[in-house]
């Protein structure tokens, strides 16, 4: 039935374009306002704001690196997690469901602390257990030290992958089962049907929640500051402990986060619009 809903919106092209410009512009103004405020602070009182901003630049780059790297892995984990939860094999389904349920029940901060502080001990134990039988592997585990960056990406991926799995599952389930039947009746395998018929449609459905997850992730990435990763939040703390300028520092940090999140919110909704237009072309 999917193809019968959504009649074409036949608005005159001109007014549609104007409407789009208007709705886009209004929200980009908020981004501009936030950027303008930062600019104003930096120019009006370079002491301390320009200094704070320069000190934080590394942190901005790190926050973006962590977020973008994790997000790529999250999408991969989410896709397989979502497919796993819909698997007909009870083993795969069981593993995927257990992963989602357990991980969603533990706060991200606790997961990060676990990976950073508890995992090395686990690796060491495994290493000593393996030592008598397979010395090379044992030594490899004992020497295994996660870098702060990798630990942060790993922790975020495991946690957000669980939420993303649920988004993918819901997206795939939202596609009418007739689509799968039609694809299979043409002789396609399950994997081919998923790849060419179901997932391309599911992606359009899940784009809004996925964009939402991205923005949430951008904010939650501030939690990695506990792992000695010099992200935006950590740089803010460093600056504050050096100068005790709490108000000025955290105002600047908050404004930068705001600019980042507002920008990405705008970008995802622009992408959504383009995708839905593509289907209607």
């Amino acid at each position: 039935m999917t193809e019968q809903v959504q009649p074409l919106e036949e608005a005159p092209p001109q007014s549609r374009l104007l409407g789009r410009l208007a709705s886009v512009d209004r929200w980009w103004l908020l981004v501009l306002a936030a950027v303008g405020l930062i600019f104003l602070l930096v120019k009006a009182s370079p002491h301390p704001y320009e200094e704070i901003f320069n000190f934080l630049t590394d942190g901005i780059v790190m926050t973006l690196q962590i977020t973008l790297t994790s997000f790529i892995f999250i999408l991969i984990v989410g896709m397989f997690g979502g497919l796993g939860r819909l698997s007909r094999s009870w083993l795969i389904k069981g593993i995927a469901s257990l992963y989602v349920e357990v991980i969603r029940g533990i706060p991200l901060l606790v997961q990060l602390l676990f990976i950073w502080f508890a995992m090395p001990q686990i690796f060491e134990k495994i290493g000593y257990l393996l030592m008598p039988y397979w010395p090379n592997a044992g030594q490899w585990f004992i020497d295994l030290k996660l870098q702060p960056f990798s630990a942060a990406v790993l922790g975020i991926t495991i946690c957000y992958g669980a939420y993303m799995s649920e988004i993918f599952r819901a997206g795939i389930q939202s596609i009418h089962h007739g689509q799968m039947e039609a694809a299979r009746s043409l002789g396609m395998t399950y994997v081919q049907a998923m790849r060419y018929v179901i997932l391309p449609q599911a992606v359009r459905v899940i784009l809004p929640p996925v964009g939402n997850e991205f923005v949430t992730l951008l904010k939650d990435s501030s939690l990695v500051s506990v792992l000695a990763v010099a992200d935006l939040t950590r740089r803010g703390r460093e600056y504050m402990s050096r100068t005790f300028l709490s108000f000025e520092t955290w105002t600047m940090v908050a404004l930068i986060y705001l600019v980042l999140t507002l920008t990405f919110t705008r970008l995802t909704s622009a992408l959504e619009r383009r995708m839905s237009l593509g289907q209607r072309r």
Binding site: E3, A183, L186
Partner: protein, 252 residues
């Protein structure tokens, strides 16, 4: 497979003792029938009589609880059978069309050709254009399904199934979801196919089509085949009381 050796036999589809239940509902009870090469068989019956289930079993969209289905000499119930290979030889047209909404009409028709039949883009598109011409809408090649009327969508769906060059075509109430004025354009395409000698199994209550094209009509009720006869006999002298009741309701 012994496809070649057995393929030349008369029987294109053979169903022996098919049983299928959904929970407590018994959809098929010991159904035995066959369809010969080039034959057009129309299945009628009240809703819930198991006619759609029977059709879906031929395509293995539903799996039998017991019994055997042999399609062109290949038993579907055999574990060694490659179901996807059999399905590629059996085209199916659905009540709700089930076109892929994210693809144009042309892409709908070329997708399986390229993915399953491994045809080149040019070859697949050539075949697709020929089929769109055959079903009467060559100008809609680049339209998306939601830009097409129901009748046009169903004709694209028929073209999509035909692109696989199937040996059998299954139609599951192909006109039930259509507005009355669009039914004829779909039935005309089906009539053409029947004249060309395609083996067809059609679940439908379009008695005009049955009269014009069917070699045999099967009447089903409550999961069983009640009567199996020619169109002339069915309309003039149905043997069973249940068939008579049903016909009196659908023929006004």
């Amino acid at each position: 497979m012994e496809k070649e050796g057995k393929g030349s036999s008369q029987k294109m589809i053979e169903i022996i003792g098919a049983c299928k239940s959904f929970g407590r509902v018994r959809a098929l009870i010991d159904v035995t029938m066959h369809v010969n090469r080039g034959e057009v068989v129309v299945i009628i019956g009240p809703s819930g009589s198991g006619k759609s289930t029977l059709l879906r079993c031929i395509n293995h969209l539903e799996v039998l609880d017991s019994g055997t289905i042999i399609v062109d000499g290949i038993p579907l119930t055999d574990e060694k059978t490659n179901i996807n290979a059999v399905r590629a030889e059996v085209g199916m047209v659905f009540q709700q069309f089930n076109l892929f909404p994210h693809l144009t009409a042309l892409e709908n028709i070329t997708l399986a050709q390229r993915v399953v039949r491994k045809r080149s883009k040019e070859e697949a598109e050539h075949i697709a254009y020929e089929l769109l011409k055959k079903v009467g809408i060559p100008e809609k090649a680049h339209a998306y399904p939601m830009q097409l009327s129901g009748g046009q969508q169903q004709r694209v769906a028929i073209a999509r199934a035909l692109a696989m060059q199937p040996k059998i075509m299954l139609f599951d109430e192909p006109t039930s979801a259509l507005d009355p004025e669009m039914i004829k354009e779909v039935l005309d395409v089906m009539l053409d196919l029947a004249r060309e000698g395609m083996t067809m199994v059609v679940v439908s209550h379009e008695m005009g089509f049955a009269r014009a094209a069917a070699d045999r009509i099967i009447f089903m009720d409550a999961g069983r085949i009640i009567e199996e006869t020619t169109p002339e006999e069915l309309f003039t002298a149905p043997k069973h009381e249940r068939t008579r009741q049903f016909l009196s309701k659908i023929l006004h």
